[in-house]
């Protein structure tokens, strides 16, 4: 269990003065992730909001070595850094212990960077991959990704007169896909559950070999919420079982926080402007379907946890 007072004694590895929107979840994710590691860390970042807002030349918000090279390749880039580290350490040219972390948004992770992520995990590089999942291409102005949930309106899946649903497809369950890579550690958390997040990221850094942590990270612009609600909305995602908190450690599935009472999905949907159209007359069935999908996935997860744990 992490302790905030202890954590606060560590220096800030991400400074203020970055250009993320007020209330953006991404820097919150980064701050919490970097609080979880005590050894020096090298950061790689995919193209996206986080990279763009934190490294506007000549202003870098990073107090750690940082590299960005392209959108789809942060896992490959960091695997090269980690390979260099192993090589130079073996040759005695480096003595320090160093950890490696890659940050990518959902676009850079679920979609365009998926191949490079899968490859890096399969090769077994000792690195932590963090997906800050805000459920759409926010940097280019809110376009749908394979992480966008069914029913969300984005600029490329708008709620129209004929297609009234917004995005018609369900989201890809990337955390489960990464678990299928059979790597030492996979977990899912949110920035609104700092203790859960830091505990998981610590484990991710501690294991030898690759680890993947999928962090639900609100985008107040794309989700159309009040910036002050960016943390609150995460709790709704977990309480409705839309985004269960769980981990897969050496193949053992475990729910890390079970809501005392499973709330109806509307509690997650209603506060977000991107789901506003779902509450118009005629879309009742859509909400029922979304609820049924959440229920089905939650049941499946619980079964996996029973079997695994």
């Amino acid at each position: 269990m992490a302790n905030l007072r202890e954590l606060s004694r560590k220096g800030e590895l991400l400074t203020g003065g970055h250009r993320a929107c007020a209330g953006c979840g991404a820097p919150v994710a980064v701050r919490q992730v970097l609080k979880a590691v005590d050894t020096p860390v090298v950061v790689g970042c995919a193209t996206g909001c986080l990279e763009v807002t934190t490294t506007i030349y000549p202003y870098s918000a990073w107090n750690v070595p940082f590299i960005h090279s392209a959108f789809e390749n942060v896992a490959a880039t960091v695997s090269g850094i980690e390979a260099a580290y192993r090589s130079l350490k073996r040759q005695g040219k480096i003595q320090r212990d160093i950890q490696f972390v890659a940050f990518g948004g959902d676009g850079g992770t679920y979609d365009i960077g998926f191949q490079s992520l899968s490859g890096a995990m399969e090769r077994g590089h000792d690195m932590v991959y963090i997906c800050y999942d805000n459920q759409a291409y926010m940097n280019t102005g809110i376009q749908r990704s394979s992480a966008t949930p069914r029913g969300a309106a984005t600029t490329t899946s708008p709620a129209g007169r004929v297609i009234t649903a917004g995005k018609t497809q369900y989201r890809k369950d990337l955390t489960a896909v990464m678990a299928a890579h059979d790597i030492p550690y996979v977990a899912q958390t949110t920035i609104g559950h700092w203790n859960d997040l830091i505990t998981k990221v610590r484990k991710a850094f501690e294991v030898e070999g690759p680890a993947f942590v999928n962090i639900l990270t609100p985008c107040r612009l794309g989700w159309q919420i009040d910036p002050a609600d960016s943390i609150e909305i995460c709790r709704k995602a977990v309480d409705t079982c839309f985004w269960p908190l769980y981990e897969v450690e050496n193949g053992v599935w475990k729910i890390t926080l079970k809501p005392r009472e499973k709330k109806p999905i509307t509690e997650w949907l209603r506060p977000q402007g991107r789901f506003r159209h779902l509450f118009k007359p005629g879309n009742e069935k859509l909400i029922e379907e979304i609820q049924a999908d959440v229920d089905r996935r939650w049941e499946m997860l619980q079964k996996r946890c029973e079997v695994g744990g």
Binding site: L4, R5, G16, G23, V28, N63, W194, A228, I231
Partner: protein, 138 residues
Amino acid sequence: MNTGEKDWDKKGWKDVPIAGLITEPGTARRYKTGEWRTHRPVWDPEKCINCLLCWIYCPDSAIQVKDGKVVGIDLEHCKGCGICAHECPSKVRAINMVLESEAEAEDGEKVKEETMREGEEGEKERKEERKGEGGNEK
């Protein structure tokens, strides 16, 4: 730009580091995003229980903490998102959001100076701690 740096002050291509590198860490501190703010968090040290939830959830590293206690808010970088006020436990409410224009008009330079001073020096005398450990999740 609000950094006082003008195009004609900037270095030419012969004088910048190679490869577009930023060779100094954390230079973003020099960029003052506090100007974006429409609402200002006003922190009440009398009410604060130092649970540090505001600190861990701040996107802009703007909650200033010293020796495990909140000592102020970095208004040079705080964008006024209101997460700190929202996440402050409902029974505590040590941070309130006020309109930036009103805060400036009412308190003038006083508020700004005080908050800045507290941010730099840390609080001196505080009432007894109400809670020992760091914050817990809601």
